[in-house]
Subunit: 205 residues, 2 copies
């Protein structure tokens, strides 16, 4: 990867405007969920709706960009927690906390993801790539942690990675159906299930 040059002139201005719109959309969805209106988003930035359409031609494209930002922020958040020590537990718990702290974004994610299971949906390709990318990333991370003796090595890293993503998605749905479920505690339980089994000789490298 080469370092990106800082854009100058009109392009930079355009990139800044796009960023402002995306940030406003993120905040509107955080507040109102899917019901966030394009009108409201345009107003927050102080642009007209046609101007907004210039940057994001369809509502779907804008909403998918919001989900992309949610993934990036979620990872930064989990990564930040990971720095503190117990990487996996903290990361998983941080992810469930992000869900419960931002129900509007979680709702958008669950709804768009469900709609995109239809191969005809414009968002289908986006979600397929999202899961492949995340699974590949977590798998690589887990392979390193298996070598370091932090995660059980008796199961394939890619299975464990997909299971983690599944548990997080599933717990998110359960919480939205019933906010009394303590999904952070369940995520902690799951994380401990990822530890090397005692006596596997894998505990400490």
């Amino acid at each position: 990867m080469t370092k990106q040059r800082k854009p100058r002139g009109p392009y930079r201005k355009s990139a800044e405007r796009r960023e402002q719109i995306l940030q406003a959309a993120y905040e509107a969805v955080d507040e109102f969920g899917e019901r966030a209106s394009l009108h409201d988003i345009a107003e927050r930035v102080g642009v007209t709706q046609p101007a907004l359409t210039y940057y994001f031609p369809t509502r779907d494209e804008l909403l998918l960009a919001v989900l992309e930002r949610r993934d990036v922020l979620g990872k930064a958040f989990a990564g930040g927690a990971a720095g503190a020590g117990e990487s996996m537990v903290d990361g998983m718990v941080a992810s469930t906390r992000h869900t419960t702290d931002h129900p509007g974004l979680a709702k958008l994610y669950v709804t768009l993801s469900a709609a995109a299971t239809d191969p005809e949906s414009p968002a289908h390709g986006y979600f397929t790539e999202r899961y492949r990318g995340l699974a590949a990333e977590v798998t690589q991370d887990f392979q390193e942690q298996q070598r370091a003796g932090v995660i059980r090595a008796d199961e394939p890293a890619d299975h464990l990675a997909r299971a983690v993503l599944a548990v997080l998605d599933g717990l998110q749905i359960q919480w939205m159906h019933d906010p009394t479920v303590d999904i952070a505690a369940i995520a902690e339980t799951f994380t401990r299930m990822l530890a090397p089994p005692a006596g596997s000789g894998q505990e400490t490298p």
Copy 2:
């Protein structure tokens, strides 16, 4: 529970008709997913659409009844597999196979469940109760299996139960976004994570 008396006369006829409609709806959704039309369902049974509405006043009520039947059949299927030996593994794998063999029903489930995360949705209460009921059932089952030494007893049974439901929901979604993912194999991995850790003294009762 007292044994239900077999209904007679007009009521029985009405119950049979309701059952025929439900079965036709189940098959139509299995074939066409959510897009299954009431018109098509009524035609399969040989009734008019108003007659259908007499038994299921709204489309949502009919679709939720289809999902209820899917749960019942899914449990019978998993239970049947369980009789063969390795209960948990077989049950989980059977559940993922049901997903991949019946994508139309899986799609309906994912879409309605996502829509019902909205507390205003008419199906919200249905899903809340569904998860509570399933979680309670699996928890009880797991408590017995913990005592029998089949499942790890170092984590609370209700956490393990909710994690199982989450993994199954999450894998179902991943498979619909990408049918090349071998969700049965991942479910098997997860099942092995439920086993008592070696050296826990819990292995054999």
